[in-house]
Symmetry: C2
């Protein structure tokens, strides 16, 4: 968690001259996300987040991300709304980076969400899926199942350095998941990274969804599977079926799952565990010791994947 | 700039139960300072900074720092006010660290202050010096002139790796400064680190002084000399006498300088340049590549020191 690109107050002042958002009262770098530099900005007219896109977000994807947030916000989803400048642009260049300004959302992200929070977040996901309908742009899931092969090949040779037997787990699971991957499931715009960090709460209510930089077009149920992994395991990686049941039921109350989706859940859960295992493992093996961010332990996800491979039916997820 | 100690919302909630400051609306790690972990907290009752003290601040010094802020705030200085908890304590343990909660100050720090800002900051320093009178606790300047010898010895062997001739500059300047160091100057509580980062502005006015973790008892004029180094050089390390003149005049308008103080300014300016050169050089030479903070370039201060050594009289500082 760090600020990579330093923005002086003087640079901020020139930048703000292009916007109609009042005079600055407070401007502070915040430790939010791992991919970009973020600043909290309070002005006489409100609170904002200024994001500078670092190398991991491709600027050619920004029209999708920024357009999506505008689309969702217009349909009642509490997400950061890109603030257009006086020229109507959603992004500008600042400090050598592409930068965008967003409305600030109150709320806090939870480290240990309870079953009630899982339900609220599941319902919020379903509402987001519905609100994404009609969005004109599309984006392929760069980390979707047909992109895993490259990561698998990059990680296998050194996987056992991290955990004995990990290479075998990855190769076997990847083969099984690919053989069973569902097709033709209801699809649309998904968040693809809705971890508890990315859901803001005010008390028991969801006050915001943030960090849409993995959003893409894919199966809705895959998004739900990501959440099963991110929300329904305890710190010791024990699966909590009460949380999973609450999450899925609250989602399905907004958008009932089809029979094909229900059947696909175990495979999707394995697949999304593999996806996060692979990216964490890759970052772990290729970590620059001078980087300002410490990589996350991939073993949290090898343990999830092992759990899902033992699941014998959707009942184990509370369905 | 980073957050070292991670505080979950759940930990925050337990912590807040000990305070009467309302319910949390926003809680974000901020990239403030280099020594501690800081969080921005907004509640239904106001905005606060939560600070967790990392290893560089000695917890036995906290009663001095926190007591000083309370003392200064009570005398009208805009500085962070430690918020006492329901038990009356100024600090508690959180996430394995000693932590304190402060009122939040609006305002922004400037990267390139103009002469008018230098004047406003100089006046603010003089007011702080006056307000510090009567504070019951004292703290020795751990980085004062009688503590430099140790740093000099630690840095000399490898100084020339950073800049050819640096070891000679340090040894010679240290000898000269020690020989000429003034005694008996008006003294009291000084900030000792009043860089532009630590002064908040709202437009042309100072809205706050922050980061008192080097505060100690020493000569007032030494504090002014720190500011000459921190505020009156351009990015290319050219000395700006207009800024220096503005800063000193505005300070002296609040508290006239004695003849001995005026005469001592060149030596104090050399001394404070040496102090920051030594600590930056030490951090540069002993930098842990895994640390989340990148060290500052010590050469900014060797160049300042070289400037001050050529000064032939206080007129060159605009006195």
């Amino acid at each position: 968690m760090a600020v990579y690109t330093d923005v002086s107050f003087e640079e901020l002042e020139s930048f703000l001259a292009g916007y109609n958002i009042g005079a600055p009262l407070t401007f502070k770098g915040i430790a939010e996300g791992v991919e970009n530099s973020n600043y909290y900005l309070q002005t006489t007219k409100g609170a904002f987040i200024l994001t500078l896109y670092e190398k991991r977000v491709r600027t050619e994807d920004l029209p999708f991300f920024l357009g999506l947030l505008e689309h969702l916000a217009a349909r009642g989803i509490h997400c950061p709304l890109p603030v257009r400048n006086l020229a109507g642009a959603q992004s500008v260049i600042l400090g050598g980076r592409t930068a965008a300004l967003f409305t600030f959302l109150n709320g806090v992200s939870l480290r240990r969400p309870e079953a009630g929070h899982c339900a609220a977040a599941g319902a919020a996901l379903a509402k987001m899926h519905a609100a994404g309908k009609g969005f004109a742009l599309t984006r392929k899931n760069a980390l979707g199942h047909d992109g895993w092969d490259e990561l698998v090949q990059a990680c296998l040779p050194r996987a056992d350095e991290v955990e004995p037997g990990l290479a075998d787990l990855i190769a076997t699971a990847h083969r099984e998941i690919t053989a069973n991957w569902p097709s033709g499931l209801p699809s649309g715009v998904i968040h693809a990274d809705l971890f508890p960090d990315n859901v803001l709460f005010m008390g028991a209510e969801v006050s915001g969804l943030i960090d849409f930089y993995f959003a893409c077009n894919d199966a809705f149920a895959y998004d739900l599977a990501v959440m099963l992994n991110a929300w329904c395991f305890e710190p010791d990686v024990a699966f909590n079926v009460t949380k999973s049941k609450s999450l899925i039921a609250a989602y399905a109350k907004q958008r009932p799952l089809t029979a094909a989706e229900r059947e696909a859940i175990p495979t999707l859960a394995r697949g999304s565990a593999l996806r996060f295992l692979l990216t964490r493992l890759y970052d772990w093996l290729n970590h620059d010791p001078h980087a300002l961010v410490r990589p996350k332990d991939p073993r949290d996800y090898s343990r999830r994947l092992r759990f899902h491979r033992k699941v014998r039916g959707v009942g184990e997820y509370g369905l």
